[in-house]
């Protein structure tokens, strides 16, 4: 992982300016909504990638951290009137602790076995919340209306503040991932992904670095959960803890390119608008057409470009330069 070239820095700056300017160019609130979802999934994809793409721990239970983040901040807000921003930090910490508690016994599980364990974990958390009366059980939680404004993390008249907040969150996740990938930790994660034995002979404490990867990933994912709760103002286990969301995150990363900083962002940029648009246009004509297109794209990518779209882009970039 080299330092960024001037070309990369300038294209990143242009992309950022375009994204900041975008909502000012169109008033279309569906467009705003799709972009918000894109940022949110990109952020979670980047978080997934830290543990999945870099450290090689394929999590199919990532949505549990999202749900834990959403539930922690919402519960604290409803019950103790805790400010959602503080609730978000609390949610991140709770998710990281849960991640550590589940990650420690799983620290020797590799490959498929780890993936299976995470599916079980995600489903256990969902089932538990469905039956946990304290947090509303299957009825979920409705967030109270606050005055609105940045301090309350709640905006009634416009989606724009949400747009910029989640864009900022995405940037934070990208910076965290980039920092990890260019320092010792990133190289250690990649060694662990290759195999525990090769990592251990390089003096790497495999269990510890895996735990760090899971906890960082969980914290960032939980932040997205709080964002979702504040954006939609209603959560229940069937919306914030669905296995299909976990799978979607894996797909986003595989499509975009697991193990690269920008891969998940590219993946989300393709899949999220695609899924929203196909759902809006084709959803009522019989379910699953969007899923068909999804499946087709994933097959195409995994057969012809296993390193994802980002691998394709960087290969073209290298060819030119």
């Amino acid at each position: 992982m080299q330092r960024l070239t001037t070309k990369q820095t300038s294209s990143a700056a242009v992309a950022l300016i375009l994204l900041i300017a975008f909502p000012l160019l169109t008033e279309n609130s569906t467009a705003h909504h799709v972009m918000i979802l894109f940022f949110m999934f990109a952020m979670m994809g980047v978080a997934w990638n830290i543990m999945g793409g870099y450290a090689g721990m394929f999590s199919f239970g990532q949505v549990a951290f999202f749900g834990i983040g959403a539930y922690t901040s919402s519960f604290l807000l409803i019950t103790y009137q805790v400010n959602p921003w503080i609730g978000m930090i609390a949610g991140g910490l709770v998710a990281a602790l849960v991640a550590a508690a589940i990650g420690y016994p799983c620290s020797n599980l590799r490959g498929h076995y780890f993936a299976i364990a995470t599916i079980a974990f995600g489903e256990i958390v969902r089932t538990h919340f469905n039956n946990w009366k304290l947090v509303g059980g299957a009825e979920g939680l409705s967030l109270p209306m606050l005055d609105g404004g940045f301090r309350d993390f709640m905006f009634h008249s416009s989606k724009l503040p949400y747009y910029y907040i989640i864009l900022a969150f995405l940037l934070i996740a990208i910076i965290v991932c980039y920092t990890i990938s260019t320092t010792k930790m990133g190289y250690y994660f990649r060694a662990i992904k290759e195999g525990h034995d090769v990592a251990r002979v390089l003096g790497i404490n495999v269990a510890w670095y895996r735990l760090v990867a899971i906890m960082v990933s969980a914290f960032l994912t939980a932040m997205a959960g709080t964002f979702y709760a504040q954006y939609v103002l209603y959560i229940d286990p069937e919306s914030v803890m669905l296995l299909s969301v976990s799978i979607q995150l894996v797909l986003i990363c595989m499509l975009g390119g697991a193990g690269s900083v920008m891969g998940p962002v590219i993946g989300a940029a393709i899949l999220i608008p695609l899924s929203e648009v196909t759902r809006i246009w084709l959803g009522h004509k019989g379910t699953g057409i969007d899923m068909l297109i999804y499946g087709f794209l994933i097959t195409l990518i995994s057969v012809y470009q296993p390193k994802g779209v980002w691998g394709l882009i960087s290969a073209i970039g290298k060819g030119k330069g």
Binding site: T182, T183, K184, Y187, Y188, R190, A191, E194, G195, D197, V198, A199, R200, V201, L202, G203, I204, N205, V206, G259
Partner: protein, 247 residues
């Protein structure tokens, strides 16, 4: 500390169910020695390596490193203490370049990428892989892969280097290169323990040879004494080898 042996293996036993892969093995290794461990397949050579480097917990016995008991330590902590190793089946990080592979090893004692990279280049210069630093692991020949693995181990800054069959499957020219590399590593002040089947290399590099058979140590001594020992010939080398050496 200076009076202690570099490595002391005291009655190490490793049992898998009813099978004794290592049965009460004892020997010592002194600083700057090259000790070879030989024996037929299944003699317990790799198991012994795994016990010393913390990959398997020994069933009983003790392993001392400069007088410190390392028997129950984790593999990564043993590496951090200064014992590095390679594997019989080469292990490199396949999506990293040669330089990045070695740099990852160097990070153990040089936390910053820049310093670790400088250390890695120094190691690659020494092992003769510097020309190929931009290659990916899988693009290398077997000989270069083995050199890369040795480079990764050296980058962790060890005092003891343990090589598991680093010379198997090499051409005569490559073999020469590896023997010279091993001698060069000792020149740098390191101690080496080598599992090897290539007898011409064992004869040339070893100060002492430890012979294992069916999990037990059957002999230990200077290479010339070992190859003329009747029990070693019968268990491992075969009459033919003895005849060839005899001529």
């Amino acid at each position: 500390m200076s009076s202690a042996h570099c490595l002391e293996i005291q009655g190490v036993t490793k049992r898998f169910g009813g099978l004794y892969a290592n049965d009460d093995i004892s020997f010592v290794v002194d600083e700057r020695e090259i000790v070879s461990v030989i024996g037929p397949n299944g003699a317990g050579k790799s198991t012994l390596f795994n016990c010393i480097t913390g990959f398997y917990p020994a069933t009983s016995g003790r392993i001392l490193f400069y007088g410190k008991d390392i028997t129950r330590r984790r593999a990564d902590s043993i590496c951090a203490m200064g014992i590095a190793r390679t594997f019989q089946i080469v292990q490199v990080i396949s999506d990293m370049t040669v330089l990045e592979n070695v740099m990852t090893g160097a990070l153990l004692r040089n936390g910053r990428i820049r310093r670790a990279t400088a250390k890695a280049e120094e190691v690659l210069e020494f092992t003769g892989l510097i020309e190929k630093k931009r290659f990916l692991g899988p693009e290398l020949t077997i000989a270069d892969k083995k050199k890369l693995e040795v480079s990764m181990a050296l980058a962790t800054g060890p005092r003891v280097l343990m090589l598991d069959e680093s010379m198997a499957g090499l051409t005569p020219v490559e073999l020469r290169g590896m023997i010279d590399l091993i001698k060069g590593i000792r020149e740098k002040g390191m101690t080496l323990i080598v599992v090897e089947h290539v007898m011409e290399a064992v004869m040339e590099i070893s100060d002492r040879v430890v012979v294992l058979n069916s999990g037990k140590k059957i002999m230990e001594g200077p290479p010339a004494a070992v190859v003329s020992n009747a029990e070693v010939i019968q268990a491992y080398l075969g009459e033919k080898y003895h005849a060839a050496v005899g001529q």
